[in-house]
């Protein structure tokens, strides 16, 4: 999602037309991320509805318009998580941010991209827990770097790396790679 910063500034200042344009430009990206979590159209639309509503009532509090995309991604992920929790499809354990020892995951960083190319990503990420799925979505679908992911999720960089390598190690074992 790459949104025109000028338009965001106008929306923050109260321009209804700017806000409406932004939301229609972003709706596809919001929906696709929501769909990756919810796995069905109705619930993905439910998440889309809540995200747009939340943006409308909160955009004036956004202090840095250049971070609009990061902010929007975070809202989308949080609302998807809350929706999954309400439907009891995610547990507290899945969403805990813990600082695990990265060294116990044996995947080679250099193999990472090759691995991702070979797999059926859509099927495989369904099996991941919420936090790990989020990191995979942001890295490989949103094309964010690890520091950008850390910024979006307000996680330490080490935690992002841990989650990423844990996810890839799991996916590797799934493929018997």
């Amino acid at each position: 999602m790459k949104t025109d910063v000028e338009k965001v500034i106008k929306a923050i200042k109260g321009s209804k037309s700017a806000l409406t344009e932004i939301m229609h430009e972003c709706k596809g990206d919001i929906y696709k991320i929501a769909y990756l979590y919810m796995k069905n159209e109705d619930e993905a639309l439910e998440v889309l509805n809540e995200v747009v509503y939340k943006v409308c009532i909160s955009i004036r509090k956004l202090k840095s318009p250049e971070y609009f995309n990061t902010w929007l991604t975070r809202i989308t992920i949080n609302i998807a998580l809350n929706t999954l929790k309400k439907k009891k499809r995610v547990t507290e354990n899945e969403t805990q941010v813990s600082h695990e020892d990265i060294s116990k995951f044996s995947i080679d960083e250099r193999m990472e991209d090759n691995l991702v190319l070979k797999m059926d990503l859509m099927k495989s990420i369904d099996k991941l827990q919420f936090n790990e799925k989020t990191v995979i979505i942001l890295k490989y679908f949103e094309d964010l770097t690890i520091p950008q992911i850390a910024d979006t999720l307000s996680w330490p960089v080490g935690t992002v790396k841990t989650r990423l390598y844990k996810a890839l190690a799991f996916l590797k074992s799934e493929l018997d790679y």
Binding site: H24, K27, Y31, V55, C56, I57
Partner: protein, 311 residues
Amino acid sequence: MLDKLNDIQIPDKADKVVNSAIRRGRRTLVMRRTMCIMTSIFVFSAVLFGGAYASPAIAASLSKVPFVGSIFKEFSDEGIKAVKEKGLTKSLELEVTNGDATVAIKEVYYDKSRISLGLVVKGIKPYGETITDLYYGDRRISGAITGIINDQPDDLYYATFSADIPEDIPDKFDMKVVIGEDWGQGRKFEFMVPLDRTLANQETKQIYIMKEIETNEGTILIKKLQFTPSTTSIDYEFDKTSKEPKISLRISSPNNEPKVLEILTGTLDEDRSRDTYVACFKFEPVQDITNEYRVDIIGEDGEVITSIDIK
């Protein structure tokens, strides 16, 4: 990888959903602006006409930790929920801010079995690292503190804390409450909370039993049964050489089916002077107590240890 994302089709309905959400957002913003204006007018009028009027609603809206509803109703045990239903609790708007943290006491309940406080806390994390002390004059009276803490976003906590209390404190007094951080900045939040259990006392019964019972695990001294609007409690002692008895209570009366009461909490203390353990266990309150009923005290094996007829 981005190709995979492009495989997800955006439904036609998405446009409608976005427009509907935008309209909903605009309505919310209009409502908020209206409330803000109305509140300002009200406060201004109160100041203009003497300022003696104190609206709880206004106080709540000016609070740094506003909460709509009842902490007791939503985040407490069955005993506190029962007294809330009966109207025996008191709403407060006591709030103390220290630095960037605020603690508010929103509700209080007092009877012969406990004092309970409904709190909203912002800016102290984790809230479980605080200590709550209750005072009658200079005397610290809080004993076991149990609580239900509900973790909200934005460093906000809703909590109900209940404390056991000594028998010899008055029915009506102003209690000092000090909530202190046990770590970090060591900040303290001090309140004076008015307590009155006159109404609760009308639905309170204490029965001193002082009966020794022999069981397979050893001797138990059943000391007291107490019925308050928020709990049914049993006090007993057992010898240190005995295994701890796991006791439950069953209530029956001419008009009601026998019911095993749900346990809420319990304390177990050592009495070194007599080599015994002193236990107090609290169960859900008995509703609709008739003049006559029977209490069966049941052991771990399901057998009735003893029965007490209350008249």
